[in-house]
Symmetry: C3
Subunit: 345 residues, 3 copies
């Protein structure tokens, strides 16, 4: 589906290495997965477990980790097909995206905002007072950048993203469509008259090379900053509450929800739909399983599972035992009947 | 609450059938549910279980499946009140929506975009290069349609929806406010230096007659397409990961989250807050219960429940047994005390 | 982080009370939490449990509930430091926000819309036919206000929020960025030909002093109104289904999902990630625990926990017993082996 229109030789030049078996001038029209590829398509064989699929594939050309026997396809042998695929897809992605630069006349840029060189600002985007936009940043259509916020060099803000005031977005950081960074956290003081908002006057800092998924929310801190560390990757529809401090290279998969004031150590992983209760410490490298929610601190490197989360082995054993619960119930009844009989006898 | 200002005769003409008991020229001001209706309102009695409520209602007129005794209301007897209600509400909805057509001068339409006949494009909407908008499509305010995306005839995109590049939206398909179609899926390769994005260069295809709820996210495929089949209805805040292939007439209720590369068969149903782990096959007609998450393949027609999901009957029995767990604990203690006594005796 | 540049005396004047120990002309540059504060910062000591942290803090000035001994900081003694902090932060928040007033020339306001005095309408905002905007309301950039919707006096709609047609937003009510109020609820009638939408022609009423978090969805009613009562506070990414009636001063924490036609009594609390199945009654003051989902009616004042939710004490006991399940399994095996031996003996 992704158009290439490159010869196999040009593909080799793009990925920077490789040996061709077959014709270097074979034209690869598109790059397609093995089971959908046709005779004019290029496909990828990432490793041994795909060899059978590769032989069954109708692909005209294959990128492979070693020359394969049972196929007529032209082959490009790479020492690291994974990395090669990523490089080729980078090239495709860049061409697809297009190269809009300049400030669209329908964007609104405050006079006091500072705009770097080579930026692209789309129609309907709004850059407020004293905001700073770094060099080569891309701010897409209908994006909002609030007062005093700073967008780093080469950052990308996809359409309709909202960056509230006093937020810092790091260099090369990507915020996907519709995400909201810096909204007011859930903080109210309650008495017999009802609930009154505690104003949230802090900000948010997204480090360099961070990625924030579509329609995610990262709330501003009460006083200082909610922090997302360098290299951390956040999926679609993730929620990070106010005052959280998330480390570097952390993975927060889609639909993760982390309540307020949680500290997450470097390289921790929250699997899909997982989460954490507020005011916890999740250690470096800890892993929270899919659909699992931490209700107490998790030690560094620990893997937990379930809701509420327990050490993974314990949680797994409980799942097995739940399947035996009906049998346990029956066995208990039997033993009690037996005892009754014995006592009566 | 919904204004009508129609006589009961006009209501009958609109729904296309029915017999009136009472006055055909009775004016129905609004259409209101039974317990809120007043003497100038019309209300609906969908079936026998609402007969008592109908008799207690103050509604001036009723649409009923059979003539009712214990009410003074004028009655319109329909063979299928459900279908009649839908037809009447269609008429109300169309009037409420208004009939904006034409391209608002504050919309931005790329020169290379192709725009059909009778379309409505709202203020602030952005249609990018080489996009195609079908006849009579409605693209509301501040919607984004990316490069090369195709919007089918009679499709409706509600305000602030984002359609990224290379997405196809089928005919009559509705995308609700703020939904994001075609964002980059959660896909990174990790090594000791951190996490690197795998570019996502595929697209998304939404079939005809699909509906996507407000603030839902459907991610683009890595290479080919994430597919949502014809007639499938997706609720608010649903997430469908990259490379998923969802069949026809599937129901994904609000807050459902389906991880990447899942295949969902035709007419499967995911109830509210349910979901699926990645790379699974969910068979045609399978039902995933509310708040339930599949961690392994689900056979066609099977009904599962719980998190992790089990066959429904087993999951329900486990819930009952959990309620007996404290008693089981006590019984076990008793039996052990008994044994101890016996051994000592 | 939040800039003050106020003397301690000016802080006292702002909060309206207090006794200063130290210099009233000490300049507080910023307001910072105790563990991050430096010698030119002001920090807050909310109560006794923070006294040790206060003594360890490097803050130059402290707001305290009573004069403290072990610190060199200038002190402002308040009878209610909580309320004082809220008042001070209100002042900071107002200054940060800026004071945009007037209608931006890039906003689109329908001729038939009625606009109050002192309103602010941002660039790209769209106000449709017959909408009403109250005095001093703030409608931020790229917000959509649909036909006939009414925005109350002093209401605030943050960037990219979508208010569909026929929605009422109360006085002083805040809708955060990207939230969608009044989308069509999930309602379809199904037969062998597939699923057909039931038009949703009702509206939504948000009472006065309500707050709706970023990217939340509150769906319109089928016929009458989905209602959110006065003073209710709704977090980020909360979903409230069609026809719900939520009482006053209710708390719906982030990621709560309430299915259609649920009645929620006054001052009920849904903790983070919790929810309710459809068509239930949740009594006044009921509490649904974190990650807990009600599948049946909850009585007024009751606290439930778990998924499916049970009375909290029962749910907690089950969690403890799950941890003992492996031991119970072993004990049962032992008793059965014992019996077998006895019978054989």
């Amino acid at each position: 589906m992704a158009k290439l229109n490159l010869t196999l030789g040009e593909v080799r030049d793009l990925v920077g290495e490789g040996v061709i078996f077959g014709h270097a001038d074979f034209v690869c029209r598109s790059i397609v997965r093995l089971d959908h590829a046709g005779p004019s398509d290029l496909s990828f064989v990432k490793g041994e477990k795909y060899f059978a699929a590769a032989e069954a594939s109708r692909a005209g050309a294959l990128v492979v980790p070693q020359a394969l026997g049972g196929t007529q396809a032209h082959q490009l042998v790479l020492s690291d097909p994974h990395a090669g695929l990523a490089r080729l897809l980078d090239w495709v992605a860049e061409r697809q995206r297009g190269k809009a630069t300049g400030i669209d006349p329908r964007a609104t840029v405050a006079e006091s905002a500072s705009i770097g060189e080579g930026v692209a600002i789309g129609a309907g985007a709004v850059i407020c007072e004293e905001a700073v936009v770094g060099d080569r940043a891309v701010i897409d259509a209908n994006v909002f950048v609030g007062c005093r916020s700073v967008i780093g060099d080469d950052a990308v803000l996809h359409p309709n993203a909202v960056i509230r005031e006093d937020v810092t977005v790091g260099q090369r950081t990507i915020v996907h469509a519709g995400a909201v960074i810096g909204s007011d956290g859930y903080s109210f003081v309650s008495d017999e008259h009802g609930h009154r908002r505690v104003p949230q006057v802090g900000g948010v800092v997204l480090g360099d090379d961070v990625e924030v998924g579509a329609l995610a929310t990262i709330d501003r801190a009460t006083l200082d900053e909610t922090v997302i560390g360098r290299g951390t990757k956040i999926g679609d529809m993730v929620h990070v509450g106010h005052n959280c401090r998330v480390g570097e290279d952390v993975l927060l998969l889609p639909f993760t929800a982390i309540s307020g004031s949680v500290e997450v150590g470097d390289r921790a992983i929250f699997a899909g739909r997982s989460g954490s209760s507020d005011n916890l410490k999740i250690g470096a490298g800890a892993r929270i399983g899919a659909c699992s929610v931490a209700f107490k601190d998790i030690a560094a490197g620990e893997t937990v599972w379930g809701n509420p989360a327990r050490p993974k082995m314990e949680a797994m054993r409980i799942q097995v035992l739940l399947g035996e619960l009906a049998e346990m119930r029956r066995e208990l009844r039997e033993l009690r009947a037996d005892r009754k009989e014995r006592k009566q006898g």
